[in-house]
């Protein structure tokens, strides 16, 4: 870490923490650990101590040693939430000093659904920008888990600066039906890892046309928006056209259907030194033709290590009436100086205001504040309903007479 202090602030690495929450989140992060990324620290959090012990990543945090005794949240998001709240201080320590925190979680279960929003909130409280990557359950996991996942996603969106969701069902289409399950899951996890790498690359790599966090946020922010990410690679002479066709037919974009409905699109092109302007033009023309009427942001970067390979990362969002408003907000925030490439703690008071506002907008499923009025000794008898009033309930309560 001395390294950071020695380099000038403008050139230092953006410090990124990736927190894998719950079983699926941990697996994705484990995958990510295979090739180390500069300036990225990884951590895994789970309520299941046994599953965590099998992983090779440090730090490992067992959530809710008291709430769950290290025996997993059992599919109950409330327990996952309680466990995360219990270990809030250790999560805080992980986020400390980070500029951007990725929270990777598989939603639908207990730990991912319950703890991920808490982790995101804590990260946000420690003044980091928070980006959620949510893995949605397979369709065969049933309606209950889907519903639970949808609720978790809402919560995560309310606290995070942006959320990308990766439905497992769509990821499944990336692999062949006959692929053995271990391989298939491995493949899917690697896609998640690549997603993280791609976003990391997007944000940290110095580009010809730079994409910053504000732009990413503008695409992924809308409360009701559905953001998906697709990555396509191609090489050879015809690489631009090939990559464009791959993207348009990408299973993560529902074979292009999502692109036509998208109202926010972010495209990041990464290629070797031979990258030409014509390729950008060709690629963007193809994408523009599909996503008619969407707000498109383009980033481009050159990486000598890629040779003749071209990688396109496309993030598209659809739905969410507030996404255009969110874009405006993001632009405002950007002008206010929310660029992650400045040291996060130099202007704390400017960063403070928009964050506080978001925090109050945090969603939570609560009980309606209806008073349950006891009918006392008449609890079990037939109610005396007279003109719509239950006369068994004390008169003074029905009339709202205060006794003091």
């Amino acid at each position: 870490m001395d390294f950071i202090h020695q380099t000038p602030t403008s050139e230092r690495f953006t410090k990124i923490s990736v927190l894998g929450v719950g079983g699926a989140g941990c697996n994705a992060v484990t995958h990510l650990a295979r090739e180390p990324l500069a300036g990225v620290t990884l951590a895994v959090l789970n309520t299941d101590a046994a599953a965590l012990a099998r992983l090779s990543i440090e730090p490992r945090i067992v959530l809710g040693k008291q709430a769950t005794r290290g025996l997993s949240a059992g599919g109950d998001p409330e327990r996952g939430r309680a466990a995360a709240e219990e270990d809030a201080s250790s999560i805080q320590a992980l986020c400390d000093g980070a500029d951007i925190v990725f929270v990777v979680a598989g939603l639908g279960g207990g730990t991912g659904t319950g703890a991920a929003p808490v982790a995101a909130r804590i990260a946000r409280e420690s003044r980091a920008l928070v980006f959620g990557i949510a893995l949605m359950p397979f369709e065969f996991e049933g309606a209950r888990r889907q519903r639970q996942a949808a609720l978790g996603l809402q919560e995560l969106k309310a606290v995070a600066d942006g959320v990308i969701w990766l439905p497992n069902q769509k990821l499944l289409k990336l692999v062949d039906d006959k692929t053995p399950i271990v391989e298939a899951l491995d493949h899917m996890n690697s896609y998640v890892a690549r997603t993280i790498v791609a976003i990391w690359g997007l944000l940290t790599r110095p580009g010809i046309v730079q994409v910053d966090f504000a732009a990413l946020r503008a695409v992924t922010q809308g409360r009701h928006a559905e953001s998906s990410i697709a990555i396509a690679e191609a090489s050879g002479d015809d690489r631009a056209r090939e990559a464009a066709e791959k993207l348009v037919a990408h299973p993560m974009l529902e074979g292009g259907a999502l692109l036509t409905e998208a109202n926010q699109v972010l495209v990041s092109i990464l290629a070797g030194p031979a990258f030409s302007m014509g390729e950008v033009h060709h690629l963007m023309e193809r994408i523009n033709r599909v996503c008619d009427g969407a707000h498109i942001t383009v980033g481009a970067a050159v990486d000598a290590r890629l040779g003749d390979q071209l990688t396109v990362t496309l993030i598209a969002s659809r739905g969410g009436a507030d996404s255009s408003a969110a874009a405006l907000l993001a632009a405002d925030a950007a002008s206010e100086g929310l660029n992650p490439f400045r040291p996060a703690k130099t202007k704390p008071d400017q960063a403070e205001t928009p964050r506080l506002r978001k925090q109050t907008a945090r969603l939570r499923q609560t009980q309606l504040p209806l008073d349950i009025i006891s009918r006392g000794r008449f609890e079990k008898s037939e109610p005396t309903i007279h003109h719509g009033q239950d006369l068994d309930v004390p008169t003074y309560i029905r009339r709202g007479v205060a006794l003091n």
Partner: protein, 407 residues
């Protein structure tokens, strides 16, 4: 088989008490109360039986006590019934007079009454009473007996009191289970009004409110006829429940406080006063502001009156009650209830006392026994009718047949 003894027994299975009153038709054809038995009721909620075995025990105790006091054997009773399901309404029957000379005969009267009774009720409902009111001949109102008059058309109003058959049968079955016959079932409100009102008061128009433990019955008389009846399944139990809930005290304490310190209205001086409950069996004593206690009570009582008042305004009867309001039942014991009723109905209000009956002073003076005494009176009226008809078997058929055949 049929016992035509002059002993008439009224049995009321109330929410707070079960009470049996023994009356005797004395030589001068006056009615004399000779026995009274009562026991605390434990198995009744809102006027209807909730625990039949407990109720049977309570009835037995009350009857045994009444038997000892009157020194008679009780074989049959007039049973009072109530409950939120009981409703009253007035129906008009029309009959054209077809005879050549346009003279109204007995058959015409029978037919018109039959027409008026033919009300369209759901199958599970049972008509408790069909009370004949005045006749109209060719639109001329107020005719008491049209037989022998000339006219083209006879009409009659019948006040029908009906309830759910199965729910009315429950108390009958419990009583029969004790080897006691049921002469007739009578709506409690009607019985109370019979005990309370003199013929003159019925003529002038009166409202009888019987505020019991679980239900409040009301009956309106005008021009000598029953004009309106109704039941609110709200009573003294509700007041205790409100107190228990509002003052956060056990129900038994609430009951106790209601009797000792309750009132239907509160004064400014109550604000500074407080009452305390004694601690017992682990429940600590509590000091309670008298104003709170009385406020909760008064709100409930006022609401009951308000609901009745709304009902009467809807029926357009409030202006016909020149004799005033009569309150009976345990609720009549609440201090100040007279003033509250006077304020609500703008009519002179009195605590009802059984009249034109002699006998046990202790029973007659108390508003709680109005219903049971009224049942005895109902019984004596029935018996008079029977002896007048002279056909005991037919009378038997009338009383039981209706009950058993439910039509």
């Amino acid at each position: 088989m049929f016992d035509n003894s002059p002993v008439i027994v009224g049995l009321e299975i109330g929410t707070s008490k079960v009470c049996a009153v023994v009356g005797e038709q004395n030589a001068s054809s006056g009615l004399n109360i000779i026995g009274l038995g009562q026991s605390r009721s434990r198995g009744v909620r809102k006027g209807e039986i909730a625990d039949a075995s407990v109720v049977a025990e309570d009835i037995r105790n009350a009857i045994v006590e009444a038997e000892q006091m009157a020194d008679v054997e009780i074989r049959s009773v007039f049973l009072g019934v109530t409950g939120g399901h009981i409703r009253g309404f007035t129906n008009r029957g029309v009959h054209p007079v077809v005879s050549a000379d346009r003279e109204i005969c007995e058959e015409d009267v029978e037919d018109v009454v039959k027409n008026a009774k033919a009300v369209n009720l759901p199958a599970e409902n049972y008509v408790l009473h069909a009370i004949r009111q005045n006749f109209l001949v060719d639109g001329q109102d107020g005719i008491i007996d049209p037989v022998g008059m000339l006219g083209a058309r006879v009409e009659v109003d019948v006040h029908v009191i009906h309830g759910k058959f199965n729910r009315l049968q429950n108390p009958v079955r419990v009583v029969k289970g004790l080897q006691v016959e049921v002469d007739a079932i009578v709506f409690n409100g009607l019985a109370s009004s019979l005990a309370l009102l003199s013929p003159e008061q019925k003529e002038m128009g009166a409202l009888v409110i019987d505020m019991g433990g679980g239900t409040t019955e009301y009956v309106v008389y005008s021009g000598g006829n029953v004009k309106h009846t109704g039941v609110l399944a709200v009573g003294g139990d509700h007041i205790s429940n409100d107190l228990a809930y509002g003052l956060k005290i056990p129900l038994s304490k609430a009951e106790d406080l209601k009797i000792k310190h309750g009132a239907a209205c509160f004064e400014d001086t109550d604000k500074t006063k407080s009452v305390s409950t004694e601690s017992q069996l682990g429940a600590p004593g509590k000091t309670i502001n008298l104003e709170h206690l009385r406020k909760i009570m008064s709100l409930r009582i006022e609401e009951i009156f308000e609901l009745i008042e709304q009902e009467l305004v809807g029926a357009g009867l409030l202006d016909y009650l020149r004799a005033g309001v009569f309150i009976c039942g345990g609720g009549a014991r609440i201090p100040g209830i007279q003033n509250v009723a006077e304020r609500y109905f703008q009519l002179p209000t009195s605590i009802g006392k059984a009249n034109s009956i002699s006998g046990l002073k202790s029973a007659l003076d108390q508003p709680e026994f109005a219903t049971a005494i009224g049942l005895v009176k109902f019984g004596s009226m029935q018996q008079k009718k029977r002896t007048r008809q002279g056909f005991i078997t037919q009378a038997f058929k009338e009383t039981f047949g209706g009950l058993l055949r439910r039509s």
